[in-house]
């Protein structure tokens, strides 16, 4: 594999991590959705590049799913939901931006040092890809923890899944079965979430899940 191919792969995967960071400090839902769309589009480019340099045409399918489904359809649908619920102007902040960003940097440092040390035997491209992918997964988790709003938790979860796809495509020759199922699971997850969002709305007139916590059966 030549140096340019490697550099481009590196850059694309690195940008996905960077956009994960951008998501951490978006406190408005619509902005968050736009950044998520960018995240998915970059993922799609990274996957398509992997397809080219690995000579694995089936990965283009994964790239296309990421581009059309995650970067377009899902953000558009969530836009609609948010507007219909009338929460598109809401500002949410549970943990301060500074602390979240510091925690994020710590997680990225952790995953890079962990993966690069442990995967000394694997080929360079797969190593870096896995390190970036783990960072994206951990940043997604961080986002799910620091947000209260159900929609941003969903976005956090989807960015986490993006990290998983990055890992799966970085692993050379991983069977298509798994990739399609990953995409499929996102679809199912989205349907499930959609159902829940509407149900939550029906009952509480809010999608802030701290409102749900009042109903803990065990307290009182």
């Amino acid at each position: 594999m030549n140096a340019t191919a490697f550099d481009v792969a590196h850059m694309l995967a690195g940008s996905v991590v960077l956009v994960s960071f951008m998501m951490l400090y978006q406190d408005r839902l619509l902005a968050l959705l736009n950044v998520f769309a960018l995240h998915a589009a970059l993922l799609s480019a990274a996957v398509a590049w992997q397809a080219t340099i690995q000579g694995a045409p089936h990965l283009y399918v994964t790239a296309a799913i990421a581009l059309f489904f995650k970067a377009m359809i899902i953000p558009a649908a969530l836009h609609r939901i948010i507007r219909r619920l009338g929460i598109h102007r809401e500002v949410e902040q549970v943990v301060g931006t500074g602390i979240t960003m510091l925690a994020g940097m710590g997680l990225v440092a952790l995953s890079i040092s962990l993966m690069l040390n442990l995967t000394a035997s694997a080929d360079a491209l797969a190593r870096e890809d896995l390190a970036f992918a783990l960072s994206v997964v951990l940043l997604g988790l961080l986002m799910m923890i620091t947000r209260r709003n159900a929609v941003s938790q969903v976005v956090g979860f989807m960015s986490l899944e993006n990290g998983l796809i990055l890992a799966a495509t970085g692993a050379r020759g991983m069977p298509l079965v798994v990739e399609i199922s990953v995409a499929f699971s996102v679809l199912i997850a989205f349907i499930v979430i959609g159902v829940f969002l509407f149900r939550i709305r029906e009952r509480f007139d809010t999608v802030d899940d701290s409102a749900l916590e009042r109903f803990r059966g065990d307290v009182g």
Binding site: T119, A122, A171, M174, V177, F204, G217
Partner: protein, 483 residues
């Protein structure tokens, strides 16, 4: 056995899949409840025929061996009894208007889809396929937990969904890492995801990366087993969904996730230089046991109470498998079977109790032996068994776990016994409240299907008194396989 050209393994998968589709289109809850039970019975028969049938050679996707046959038979058996309990339970829910016919149709289709997902996870020889199947089973249970659409049910389903997805995402990352480890040895493509290939060549893998993969897999699937500190979803999901689902969650889904952990534990054990998985599992198991035992004291909701008891028992099982060795594995396996049977029986009775009394609050359930003696004593037998009193099978298996641990590590055994006693105290304290005192709530005799409850308890009792020779040999063979 072959029916119409399908072998037994395919039937175990096909029957629930076809029934799920059928139940989704058929109207009328009486016939669908009946069909649901019938489908579960057919699946059980197909699973039983796996004993007699010649085992197909392990393929790229499906596998039948001594280990998973235990799980499949247990899974389909409890699936069947829970379906027959569900038929009477759902009838009551329709009458009281808690569920509408549309939701019941949805519920039955999801029930079969969940059975399909769990069976697929158990027979899959492909770690990717196994992951997909467990995810499918999880998503269907999420939907069923939320089926009542009360605020509590929605919160429980949401929490379960979020924590379950995080767990399942970590498990997928672990699965990808296993593939990355295996790929240089087994080559690219499906071959490097087939479990039988992986285990055959495990010795040649890179140990450091394999360790990392196992940590992800243990955390990921461990969330689904309900191990502390990743258990937060479990009590809510048990308490707020329909009770048949609490029974299959505790009795089956936790086992399926445990099965995944065991498969990867075997993989680790096959590599001489890899991290020993035992201590990690022992630690998580003991933590879950002691933590859940203390949590039992402060529960005010009867289904939450038994959900914490499930965490406690999964802790014991994981602990036993973590200790390893033929005796401890035997004990763990036996305890798993006994816990599944007993805990689902308890949920069968709790379901009827909660329907009769119209509440799940511990404080408002009193005097069951006076108002509903058969049901009350059934619950009493179940609770005494799960608390670990002789002559029931749970006592036998707990005794085996404790003695095998004492022989090897007395300090751990002391912690184990301490946890068991704390839990024992909590359960007996609650039980006397349920059984005696001035009866509360509805006093009229109720229609309840007691057969599944007593059938389970009879099996647990028989296992405690006398284990048939062939069964002991079978379990011993599996225990040996687990190393």
């Amino acid at each position: 056995m072959t029916v119409a050209g399908f072998n037994a393994v395919e039937l175990v998968l096909l029957v629930p899949a076809v029934s799920a589709a059928l139940l989704a289109i058929l109207p009328g809850f009486r016939i669908t409840a009946w069909l649901n039970t019938l489908a579960a019975l057919l699946t059980l028969l197909a699973a039983l025929s796996l004993f007699g049938a010649e085992r197909p050679a392990p393929g790229n996707y499906l596998l039948v061996d001594d280990l998973n046959i235990v799980f499949i038979v247990l899974n389909t058996f409890v699936g069947f009894t829970a379906a027959s309990f569900s038929a009477s339970y759902i009838g009551h829910e329709i009458e009281t208007g808690r569920l509408t016919p549309v939701y019941v149709r949805f519920y039955h289709a999801m029930y079969q889809l969940m059975m399909f997902g769990m069976n697929l996870a158990l027979v899959s020889n492909n770690i990717g396929l196994m992951w997909v199947a467990i995810e499918l089973a999880t998503l269907t249970t999420v939907l069923m937990v939320g089926v009542y659409r009360t605020p509590e049910a929605l919160e429980a389903a949401w929490k379960y969904f979020i924590l379950g997805s995080v767990g399942i995402a970590l498990a997928l990352f672990g699965t990808i890492l296993v593939y990355v480890v295996a790929q240089p040895v087994l080559g690219e493509g499906t071959a490097a995801m087939v479990w039988t290939n992986l285990i055959a060549r495990a010795g040649e893998f890179d140990p450091a990366l394999l360790n990392l993969a196992f940590v992800f897999l243990l955390l990921g699937y461990g969330t689904k087993v309900g191990l502390a500190p990743l258990h937060a979803w479990l009590p809510d999901a048990h308490a707020e969904g329909p009770t048949p689902i609490s029974a299959v969650l505790s009795g089956l889904l936790l086992n399926v996730a445990l099965y995944a952990v065991l498969r990867f534990k075997l993989l680790m054990a096959a590599h001489p230089e890899a991290l020993a998985p035992g201590p990690l599992m022992v630690g998580m198991g003991l933590l879950s046991l002691v933590f859940a035992a203390f949590m039992l004291y402060r529960r005010r909701d009867i289904k939450r109470l038994f959900a914490y008891s499930s965490i406690e028992h999964m802790g014991i099982i994981v602990f036993a498998f973590g200790m390893g060795g033929t005796l401890a594995n035997f004990a763990g396996l036996l305890h798993m079977v006994m816990h599944s049977l007993t805990k689902s029986a308890i949920f069968f009775s709790v379901g009827h109790v909660a329907q009769i009394k119209g509440t799940q609050k511990v404080a408002e359930i009193r005097g069951l032996t006076q108002s509903h003696p058969l049901l009350g004593w059934g619950l009493a037998i179940g609770v005494l068994a799960i608390a670990g009193l002789p002559p029931f099978g749970v006592f036998m298996s707990e005794f085996l776990v404790v003695t095998s641990t004492f022989a090897r590590n007395p300090v751990l055994a002391l912690v184990l016994v301490f946890g068991l006693l704390v839990a024992f105290g909590a359960l007996l304290l609650r039980l006397t409240g349920f059984l005696f005192g001035e009866p509360t709530g509805e006093l009229k005799p109720a229609r309840a299907s007691l057969l599944p409850l007593y059938a389970h308890m009879a099996l647990v009792l028989i296992a405690g008194l006398y284990m048939p020779g062939p069964m002991v040999d079978w379990f011993r063979a599996v225990a040996k396989l687990l190393g």
